[in-house]
Amino acid sequence: VRRLGSLLVSPKLALVVLVTVLICAVVGVTVVRGARAGELIFGTLWFNALLVLLAISSGAAFFSRIWRRKLTLVSAGMILFHLSFAAMLGGIVYNQLFFFRGVLRLTEGETLPNRDPASYDYVERGRLFDFERLKGTTTLVAMHANYKVGASNKRAAYELEVGEGASPVRKVIYVTEYLDFDGVRFFCLKEGYSVLLVLSEKDGREVFGAHVPLQSYRQEGGAFRYASGTASEEVAFAFPPPPNEPRADVHLAFRPSTVKEREGEVSLRLSLPGPHGGPPVERNGQVVVGAPFDAGDFALTPREIRYWVGIDVKYDPGLNIVLASLCFGLSGMVLTFAGRIRQGTARKRRPEESRPAASRAPGIERESA
């Protein structure tokens, strides 16, 4: 136990662990990158254990040396700095246990319950997180393109209503502004067009309608194409979707008007079942928003264009501890810096009081910690 204790307080161990962490970090952004680096290094138990060991080892090494030393501006700054490291680690660990991150996808006018896991496209959470922590519902009131705050163009802003009961919180959020409801924060993530596609029979009777969210595909030259599909490729979808009986496979693309917001042309490519079980029949065409597209037995009308948005929902109970620790750590650094300057000035004034030499290099004195 004694040997383990002396190993733990050894600054050499802290330095070795620190260098190991640095090497791992460099490998994580050079040899392997992105999500793979998260899987192999940054998100692994061993790497996080290494971080914990670093905090414990550096804390033990520091406090075993500073203990019983005279409290000066420099030592106070160092204590603050090293304590903030320990507090930051505590905040990170606490957050890892209770955090929540989910992506809500909402079309304008749509409301989803926050505590229902099915509301989210993507969910990541700590082991001890409880969905009951997410209260109320979220409604996307509107998506404002080219939203201006003063003279600054914030480009995309989401008008949200979050809450429960009679007094929900309503706020316009944009990239540097989020909404906070009961400790849960809502951030802008991504947005796109959504086409309200309505199916009508030959006699004009509307039998089905649904919003079709479109993906943005970057083209050569930087322009975007908006079409139905997955994040990686354009694909057709069954319409009406199951459990209804599909009448066609529909591929849809939208070209927004450069003159008027939410107007433009919609290209449709339909694959209809062949007569008497024969091969499918293709039917292609282009209509403006609001006009019907004749599909033979029925018509499809892109009735209106709305926006859909992806909202990053985050609950990080340890975040304030981490951010406060960063501030304390910084204050510690500033105090140490100020203390060193003061020491230097005092030494200049009283050169006869300078400490005895125990140099390791010619002409250099050794300074105590």
Partner: protein, 275 residues
């Protein structure tokens, strides 16, 4: 654009002349040549500042968005700090032996990456007060450790050479102490840069750390100086070893500051933020 280009390249030329004067001055131990190095550095600094000011004031563009702008600003602040140190004491005249050659190379590199000024308005994600704290911390922090490395080089020169320009240099202990103080200042300012970046990321993305390549490299270079401080304070390192360390650490700093955004796709590469 033309006037800005002329001013920029004039600065590069003067820094080039200054570099040559410092190198030959050190080799021939000539105080006159070192003096020429300092004068041409001052002359070069004027169009350098003017080229930054032209883009910032007249064109209304924040001069730190692209890598070329960031290099130009970082080198500008470094040369400013170098000149302030020269103003404070004549004893470290030779400091330009490291500062000017590195500034010349970095500014020349910036010249090959320069493009016309982008839109005057910052992208929405950068419309935050944290950005200014971040940029100030990064620029002055880099300059401070740059000067520290320059003092480290002077320490090594003082130990090995005698006579001529080397006689005027302070004793090794003073150089070592001065270099250490610049490292402490640079470490603190770089800390301010990292902390303000964390606050900005929290404001925009809701997370203070993303393991982005530039974030990681910044942490690596910051901790490299953290190790420097611990080697000195805890392990008692002094003099030659730390002087060499400060020179190596400067390379890590340059790589993390500009090399990584240049070579790896990251949200710091000209601040291409998807929003």
């Amino acid at each position: 654009m033309r006037a800005e280009q002329v001013m920029f390249w004039a600065a590069v030329v003067f820094y080039g002349v200054s570099t040559a004067a410092y190198i030959f001055g050190v080799m021939s131990r000539s105080e006159k040549l070192v003096g020429v190095g300092l004068v041409t550095a001052i002359i070069g600094f004027v169009p350098h500042v003017a080229s930054i000011g032209f883009r910032w004031v007249w064109q209304g563009v924040n001069p730190f968005i692209t890598i070329a702008e960031s290099l130009t600003l970082g080198v500008g602040v470094s040369v400013l700090l170098f000149l302030l140190v020269q103003l404070a004491t004549e004893k470290v005249r030779l400091l330009g032996t490291l500062v000017l050659p590195v500034s010349f190379v970095l500014l020349g590199w910036a010249g090959t990456l320069r493009t016309a000024a982008a839109s005057a308005e910052l992208v929405p994600a950068l419309q935050s007060g944290w950005l200014w704290v971040h940029i100030v911390g990064a620029s002055i922090g880099f300059s401070a450790v740059f000067i520290a490395a320059g003092l480290g080089l002077l320490f090594l020169l003082k130990e090995r050479k005698e006579g001529g320009v080397y006689e005027r240099l302070p004793d090794p202990k003073t150089l070592d102490e001065l270099s250490y103080r610049f490292v402490v200042g640079g470490f603190t300012l770089y800390g301010i840069m990292i902390v303000s970046g964390a606050f900005w990321a929290d404001q925009v993305k809701g997370t203070f750390w993303n393991w982005d390549p530039v974030e990681v490299w910044s942490l690596v270079s910051w901790l490299t100086y953290g190790i420097y401080l611990h080697l000195r304070v805890t392990m008692g390192w002094r003099g030659q070893r730390l002087a060499v360390y400060s020179l190596v650490a400067l390379v890590a700093m340059i790589v993390s500051y500009w090399g990584i955004p240049f070579s790896v796709e990251t949200f710091h590469s000209g601040f291409r933020i998807e929003h």
